[in-house]
């Protein structure tokens, strides 16, 4: 919480934006990130098709999620000696 307040104070000071405007932007950015992660989670769990995920969050995020997923599966296989 302390870090969040520090970020808010610094952003207000260094961007010359009103605190309410920074709060609005933070809300929008946070919501967009949550939505993106929600969509990518659905895609990686096979609940939506790749095309739908690409249409919703863009090819860059889908490819990144695929590469992270591949890395995670490789890590698990190594770690568990499979």
């Amino acid at each position: 919480m302390a870090a969040t307040l520090t970020y808010l104070e610094k952003l207000v000071r260094e961007t010359d934006k009103a605190e309410s405007e920074v709060m609005t932007l933070a809300f929008q950015t946070g919501l967009r990130q949550l939505w993106r992660e929600h969509v990518l989670g659905h895609y990686l769990r096979g609940k939506i098709a790749r095309d739908e995920a690409i249409e919703t969050v863009g090819i860059d995020w889908v490819e990144l999620a695929e590469r992270q997923h591949e890395a995670m599966m490789e890590d698990l296989a190594w770690a568990l000696g499979e």
């Binding site: 990686l44 890395a71 890590d75 698990l76 770690a79 000696g81």
Partner: protein, 175 residues
């Protein structure tokens, strides 16, 4: 379930930083020897992102100063110019001393490592291996995986951590 200390590895900066951020640097004791090139040392201990005393406590770390000319030749021969110096030194060191496990959290480095026939392993893998070696229990492993997303600066989506946790539970139940 545990198999004792396991392997020899070279590490780049990512796992050192991310494991330190979640207070799990001690998990690197699962390796018999952990090799750290000087550029990686500079990016971590040198920049105060990892405490030198925490590295010293591992008791398995070997630092390496690398000659610039052969490193430059290696980078040129393999067209690796887009990677950072610590990552380049880590790849080169694997090649030089015949170590097949490279610890890295960078997806581009993972890809390159595989092209060299190396096994890339990330922070997530090290946490899970610590569980397999019985340094921690399943609940602790799950919390540390969540911390990688919530606390560390590792760039990973929540979905990946949730899927990793699910897989860990599933595979643990199968043991």
């Amino acid at each position: 379930m545990g198999t004792g200390r396991v392997e020899v590895a070279v590490t780049d900066a990512g796992p050192l930083i991310h494991l330190a951020e979640i207070d799990c640097l001690r998990f690197l004791r699962i390796f018999d020897d952990l090799h750290i090139p000087d550029a990686v040392w500079s990016e971590t201990v040198g920049q105060k992102r990892v405490e030198e005393s925490d590295i010293s406590k591992l008791d398995n770390v070997q630092r390496h100063s690398l000659s610039q000319a052969p490193l430059d030749q290696f980078i040129q021969d393999h067209k690796l110019g887009e990677l950072h110096v610590g990552e380049l030194e880590a790849l080169y060191l694997c090649n030089q001393i015949g170590v097949s496990v490279l610890l890295t959290d960078d997806l581009a480095v993972r890809r390159t490592a595989k092209q060299f026939g190396l096994t890339p392993v990330g922070s997530l893998g090290i946490v899970v291996r610590a569980y397999r070696e019985e340094l921690i229990n399943l609940e602790e492993a799950e919390q540390h995986l969540i911390d990688l997303y919530d606390v560390s600066t590792l760039f990973v989506t929540r979905a990946i951590v949730e899927l990793a946790t699910q897989q860990l539970h599933k595979r643990s139940n199968g043991r």
